[in-house]
Assembly symmetry: C2
Homo-oligomer: 654 residues x 2
């Protein structure tokens, strides 16, 4: 008869399943797969013959092989137009960013020739336009410039920059091969917004040197140093240079304004930098303004990229600095490139594999560093122009590279009279677009902590250094993660009227507490970092509830139900804390009941005999069933169980 009762009780409840044990190696393999191959890249290889597998493998690693056979003449026409457009942007931008990195201007042109060709073979984005990027350029100058003077030891400085580029490439390719691309994810959206804004501000400040025609300038990038440096040289400001710069700045900003308002004008915007360069060069060569305080580029060497394998300075005393520069700039360039590629892919609805992109970026920079190119990535501005000009594939990068090749072979002498100030104007225009104050406002509205991260990143970059800002922002982001781990939330649940649903009484003010039962939800995996906190917090919940009951005179507390639905996993520290919590609760004369332990949790609870100690009958599939069982035990003494109807029907549970 005792069995009959038991069966009756069981029938109206659903048992919590303990999943069958998995062999250790099998579950290890599953974890490794989820960690490193979440996108299942070998999905398509399954069940294919060897030859087909080889072809698929080649297509996987060299996407060019995959799309080239399907490439049409129509696509080529589109790519030709967009390629020429981005080449016209690449020439002034290449020279400008090379100046920003304190490199000879021609290195900027070199860097727009070889890397795009490599990327066209290996990259999987159809819209990314390869080229040098502003923030890493600035970083190279500020980190490496501390050790080697770019003006006094130009050769050594250039070699170190190439070495840094090599290591950046190695890092990028390694991250891709080892499928560690998720490291880039630790630069959160908020960090990037603040960091880009700060870097753009710093770059603009640096351009004041060119704009005011100053010959000496501080090596520091922070606001205070720059303002002091400029204020102390009021006598050397060149009005001719400033006037010319402001005119072109105005022209560039105007074209950008128009192209933003009407998309048909985007041509104007895309061509504006080259137009400015041509106009300014003409102006200077006609007026000989170079004799009146306007600095010009001067002689650019003719010819294609010289090989630079032997220039890599692996034995330099500053190798450590070069490696550090490579690591920092490599990560940042990667973050920008991957994000840009992904944005356009989402827009056009095709897929990009982040790890494959990293390998492409890495090889592009390794090859680049051997052919006199410095760090390249997928700059947002150039890629946006490429996209707007209607590119269809990476062929637009090849067209751009051909354009740069022609320039290098034939046209470099034309840039002799190009004034530096027009390059400053081009950089400032590009940078102003990166200060995304609207995004910062958005962050403030939605998530105050994200705004704090963004602000810390901005302030760190502008008033400290680029590294300070980055470290500050990443540290704050991680701090938040740690706090959320060390201090997981716990909620009291109540019954939503007219249902068997139990939800947080904070979120649902109409949810009603169940007399004599305290229902708590734990909102995170339970492990070493938070187990002590959870024990303290749960005992506080209990005495607060007891205080409340004393004050209101309700029936005294009998059961504590822990809803483990959000608890995805538990470790041994967590299990000992659960045991402790159980002992504490029992010592108070209460009973601990568990609701919905998940597979990881129930497996470990079983292995550690915790289930035995609280009793298999006190673990329920839903909070609703747990409450029913508690009420059942409260209101009906066990001997009379036959006369009491089981009030938890088969389908009214939560």
């Amino acid at each position: 008869m005792g069995n009959g009762k038991e069966e009756e009780k069981q029938e109206c409840l659903h048992r919590v399943a303990i999943p069958p044990p998995k062999p250790f190696l099998e579950s290890l393999a599953a974890t490794v797969k989820e960690t490193f191959f979440p996108d299942d890249p070998f999905h398509q290889f399954k069940g294919q013959p060897t030859r087909r597998r080889f072809l698929l493998g080649l297509q996987y690693f060299v996407p060019f092989v995959e799309w080239a056979p399907r490439y049409t003449f129509d696509s080529f026409k589109a790519d030709l137009v967009s390629g020429i457009t981005i080449a016209s942007l690449a020439i002034p931008q290449g020279i400008s960013y090379a100046k920003l990195a304190n490199l000879p201007p021609v290195v900027g042109l070199y860097s727009s020739f070889v890397p795009p060709l490599v990327y066209a073979m290996l990259g999987s984005s159809r819209d990314l336009a390869v080229g040098t990027v502003a923030v890493p350029s600035l970083l190279i100058a500020s980190i490496l410039g501390k050790d080697v003077s770019p003006t006094q030891n130009t050769k050594e400085y250039v070699n170190l920059v190439l070495t840094a580029t090599f290591f950046a490439g190695v890092l990028q390719a390694a991250l891709g091969f080892l499928r560690l691309g998720f490291i880039v994810d630790f630069l959160s959206h908020a960090t990037i917004v603040g960091f880009m804004g700060g870097a753009a501000t710093v770059v603009c400040l640096q351009q004041l040197k060119g704009l005011l025609g100053l010959r000496h300038f501080t090596n520091n990038t922070d606001l205070v140093s720059v303002v002091i440096s400029i204020a102390s040289q009021v006598h050397s400001w060149k009005w001719e240079s400033a006037l010319l710069g402001c005119c072109f700045l105005f022209f560039l900003l105007l074209t950008r304004y128009f192209s933003k308002r009407k998309r048909v004008f985007f041509w104007v915007n895309a061509m504006a930098p080259l137009t400015s360069v041509i106009l300014a060069t003409l102006l200077v060569s006609l007026t000989h303004a170079e004799n009146h305080g306007v600095q010009v580029i001067g002689r650019l060497s003719k010819g294609l990229n010289p090989l630079s394998v032997d220039d890599l300075a692996f034995r330099s005393p500053f190798l450590a600095t070069a490696i550090k520069t490579g690591m920092i700039t490599g990560i940042i360039a990667l973050a920008e490139g991957v994000a840009v590629g992904r944005s356009f892919a989402i827009f056009k609805n095709y897929h990009i594999d982040g790890n494959k992109e990293m390998i492409a970026f890495g090889l592009m920079n390794i090859v680049g560093s051997c052919t006199s190119c410095y760090l390249t990535s997928g700059p947002f501005s150039r890629s946006a122009v490429n996209f707007n000009a209607g590119c269809k594939s990476a062929v637009s990068n090849i067209v751009m590279a051909v354009g740069i090749m022609i320039t290098l072979l034939l046209l470099t002498p034309l840039f002799y009279h190009t004034p530096l100030v027009v390059l400053s104007s081009i950089i400032i225009t590009a940078m102003l677009g990166l200060i995304d104050y609207q995004a910062a406002i958005h962050l403030w509205q939605i998530d105050k902590f994200d705004f704090l991260v963004c602000l810390a990143s901005y302030v760190g970059v502008v008033f400290g250094s680029v590294e300070t800002g980055l470290i500050l922002a990443v540290a704050l982001s991680l701090l938040r993660v740690f706090i959320s781990i060390a201090r997981p939330r716990t909620f009291e649940l109540g019954n939503i009227p007219n249902s068997m649903i139990y939800r947080s009484v904070d979120q649902y003010p109409n949810a009603e507490r169940v007399p004599a039962i305290l229902i708590l939800q734990i909102d995170s995996p339970i492990y070493f970092a938070n187990s002590n906190y959870l024990r303290e917090r749960i005992s506080r919940w209990i005495y607060e509830e007891e205080d409340r009951i004393k004050a209101t005179g309700e029936s005294s507390l009998q059961y504590v139900i822990l809803d483990l639905s959000p608890v995805g996993s538990i470790d041994t520290s967590g299990i000992s804390i659960l045991e402790e919590i159980n002992r504490n609760i029992e010592r108070k004369g209460l009973k601990l009941v568990l609701a919905n332990p998940r597979s990881e949790v129930i497996k470990k609870l079983e292995k550690s005999k915790f289930i035995e100690s609280i009793g298999q009958d006190w673990i329920y599939l839903t909070v609703g069933e747990a409450v029913s069982a508690c009420n059942f035990a409260l209101h009906c003494s066990w001997p009379n169980v036959n006369s009491v109807e089981c009030d938890a029907g088969p389908d009214n549970n939560v």
Copy 2:
């Protein structure tokens, strides 16, 4: 009429509540309180008059004031017995551990006099016996010993040890005051098991020096160095010393074995060290074995602790090492002391405030460092003896201190002939108890990763150095946390037959998939560190489901329900990823439906207008309701809605 339909649909469903917005400062204050004051220490101060508050405050910071008035003569009798017992243990242990730290033996006695008195005033544990601890003693010798030789520059070495103790105290008190006690929690249970075992092994190895009567010994602590050092000195092994040591080791292990089998024998175990010391001293003074290779303690200076404020070496060139030693040993001593205090408190069912204990430990060490004491904490062995001897309060510490005082004033000459080898035997016996191989087996059975952490910690300590082991274990523990953050699990849910409950199909093999609907559960907060992964993983779930449907010929996929129950929070990166996921799903012609977004999440989804973009009508309180609504929309065209019965009753939802 359209409204009527809407109302009918709404009535049978429960709305997801958007909690009222909280002012920014209020929610900030709540977060700070949860983070730093989770145990609500000022709970009792609420609504009390000022005078009472002052008294409560005094009682809070000096627990002695709180319990002293209630102290009874019966308690005193119990404390007297246990105090004498632990004093008899404290004398040999104090001398032994001081030798371990390469300090003059008398410093070990000093350290059992002042700190217990301070702790008796400030500490809140009734069972903790204060004294020097083995692992930090070893650490002090191995870290500081690298910079200053304890044999050649004894004075400087002692001063540096006192300085390290001072900084350890400052760190401990600061952690307590700033309520950062949770830092200790990052030493997980598994780390501690491995670390303690490793340290005990290393300490035993070090004792071979005393046991074999060697005069020269390696400064390194790793297994390889020690074995080489011993093997290379075979000719200097002293058999007299080894014989004596082994005899006492056997005696001590035997008494421990008996005391473990029958608890009445614990007296034998507690008195065994002092008995051994007395026996060995008598034996040596009778046989004059000190002339036959048995090293003895020699002269101990008589008198109480001299003041040592002026000895703190704040201007030493090795200050940085002293600070580092202080930080590492301070944290480890704290972890042991807090854990020991907590264990006994749980056993006797009283409460210990971790942060308050840290302040007590900190002040005890600061005062100690000014009175010639080195680092003290609550060693497990001594506290266990105290507990077994029936202590009632911290008065047993005072009794012990008085015992040590008498020893220092009168009995030190008696220790002249005490052989070092008996101290080695005492240390080895204590250490063997710390190698908890059963705990390691338990870890392996329950959690393989925890076992790995434990193993890394053990191997690191034994084959590398104590710091290596610690860093390795903490790094591995954090790596696990990071992986669980960066790669949260996602589950497919199915319907448990004859219910409206939806659970993971992995855990419940009988759960049934719903045709045309894919139900996914996300198992972690969504933020920058995992948002990209989640996007990839969800799109993989979708294409895998589509492949499965193609293969089985079921009706094609129409809805994707995301169960957000375990998602406690979201940041701006998470929101943009949700937007992206929604766009991807829409582009495939599917519809995204959300189930049970929690208060943090729904607030941010509303602010960021995400709710508008998927539609308020596609957010449900439970997966069950979401499925009903999808089925409703699938099987009934909207114009005919009136003729269809709403099949989701008020209380059959999950």
